[in-house]
Amino acid sequence: MDLLINGIASFLASTGLAKIFAASPETVVQFAGIDFGAIIMIAISCLLIYLAIGKQFEPLLLLPIAFGMLLSNLPGAGIMHNEFFVSDDPNFHMDFGTILSKGGLLDLLYLGVKLGIYPPLIFLGIGTMTDFSPLIANPKSLLLGAAAQFGVFVAFFGALFLGFSVYEAMAIGIIGGADGPTAILVTKSLAPKLLPAIAIAAYSYMALIPIIQPPIMKLLTTKKERQIVMKQLRPVSRIERLLFPIVVTIVVAMFVPDAVPLVGCLMLGNIIRESGVTDRLSKTAQNELMNIITIFLGVTVGATANANYFLTPQTLFIIVLGLVAFCISTAGGTLFGKLMCWITKGKINPLIGSAGVSAVPMAARVAQSVGQKENPTNYLLMHAMGPNVAGVIGSAVAAGVFLSLAKFF
C-alpha cells in the first residue's frame, strides 16, 4: 500500500502542473513557490503564435520560433537544456559529451545553430532564389546597400550607451541589417543569451517593414523626388551573371574572411542557379533544404528563450534598439539615395535607397508601392531590387567585420 502511495506521489510530483507550483530554486521569476517564469513564457509564446498565424508576421519563421519557445518552457519536458550551452560562469565551456549523451531532441538540433551551420545553409537557399541582375545592371546600387547598414552601427553605439557589453552591442546592432540568419549567426557567437530576443526582434521588424518604412521615406523625400521615373535597366548577359558570384566571393574573402561562410554560401547558391546545368540542385536548395533548415532553425532558436534570460529589462532594450536600428537604416539608405539623386541630377529615385535594408523582397516592394502612390505609372520594383540584394551582401559584410573585431576585445 505504502509503495503504491509513494508511487502515486512521485508521479504527481513529476507532472508539469506540480513543477509550476513548486518552482525550483534556479528559476528567477517566481513568487510564493509558483513558477511565474514558465507561465509568462508560455503566454508570450501563445501571443507569438497568434501574431504568426493571425497577423501573418513572417509566419514561416515566427511560428516555429514561437512553438519552440512553448516546447522548451513546458516544465519538466526537458527537451531543451539551455544550461548546456550558456552560463553566467566566465570560464564556461560547452561540453559536447554531455550534450550528446544527455541532450534532448532540441539540444541536438540546436547544435546546428551553435556551430554556425544553419544560417549559411539558409543563405545557400536565398542565393538560389535571388536574381542579382538588377544589381549587375546598375552597380551603383551597391552603395545604397552599404548606406543602409548605418543603422547597424548606430544601434551598436546605442546599445553600448545603455550599458551592454561590446559583444552584446554588436549582436544587437546587427538587427539593423534586417537579415535574420546573419543576426542569428552573430548572436550565437557573441551573445548567446540574447539569441531569442534578437531573433524575435529581427523577424518581427522584418514583418513590420511595410509599416515602419513608408513614414520615414516620405519624411525624407519631396513629392517631386518620389515621382522620379527611372531609366529602364539594361539586360544582363549570361557571362556577367556567371562571373558575379565568383567575383563577389573572392573580393569579400580578401577583405573580410569572417563573412565568407555567409557570402560564400549565398554565392554558391547563386551560381547553382545561374549555371543552368544544376537545376536539380537549385530546386532542392531553394525548396526542401531551405524548408528543413528553416524548421530546425526556428524551433531551436525559439527553444533558447528561457525565462531566466528572456524576462529581463534587456529584452525590452533590444526590442527598442532593434526598431531604432531599422529606422536609421531606412533613413541612411533614403538619404544616400537623395545624395545620388542630386549627383546624377535626378536620374535616381531616392525611394530605392530605403530598399538597401536587406529584407528581400519586402523592402523593394515597399519602395515600389510608396513610389506608385505618387505616380501610378511608375514601376520601381526592379530598380529597388538592386539595393535590396546589395543590402544582403552589405549586412553579411558588416557581420563579418563584427565577428573579426570581436576577437580583439
Partner: protein, 116 residues
C-alpha cells in the same frame, strides 16, 4: 572596462565597420562597372530589328520623342506576344505613354499584382 573606454571602442568599431562595408561594396561596384565595359560594349553591335510587312498596330499618334529603338523593339515583341504572331508581321508606327489615364480597374489590378 569603464564607460568612456567602451564608447571609444564603439567609435573605433563603427568607423572600421562602416568603412569596410563601404570599401568592399565600392570595390565590387568598380569591378562590376569594369565587367560592364568589357562584356556589354563588345556585344553592342548595333541591331536594327525593324519591320517587314505593314499590319498597323494600335496606339494613338503623338511625336516620337527620342531615338529609343530599344523601346520600340520591346513594344514590338510585346504586341507580337499578345497577338500570337511574329515580330516580322508588325510595324510600330507610333506610340505614346498612356499615363494615369488607364481605367481605374486596370490600375487597381496592376497594383494588386505588385503589392506585398
Amino acid at each position: 572596462m569603464d564607460f568612456m573606454e567602451a564608447l571609444t571602442n564603439g567609435g573605433v568599431v563603427t568607423l572600421i565597420g562602416m568603412g569596410t562595408v563601404f570599401a568592399v561594396l565600392a570595390v565590387l561596384w568598380g569591378i562590376l562597372e569594369l565587367m560592364q565595359r568589357i562584356f556589354v560594349k563588345a556585344e553592342k553591335a548595333p541591331k536594327k530589328a525593324e519591320a517587314k510587312k505593314p499590319e498597323t498596330v494600335p496606339a494613338a499618334v503623338e511625336a516620337l520623342t527620342t531615338d529609343d529603338e530599344e523601346l520600340i523593339a520591346v513594344l514590338t515583341a510585346a504586341v507580337a506576344a499578345s497577338l500570337n504572331t511574329s515580330t516580322y508581321n508588325l510595324q510600330i508606327k507610333s506610340y505614346r505613354q498612356v499615363g494615369a489615364k488607364a481605367p481605374a480597374w486596370n490600375r487597381v489590378s496592376r497594383r494588386e499584382n505588385l503589392q506585398y
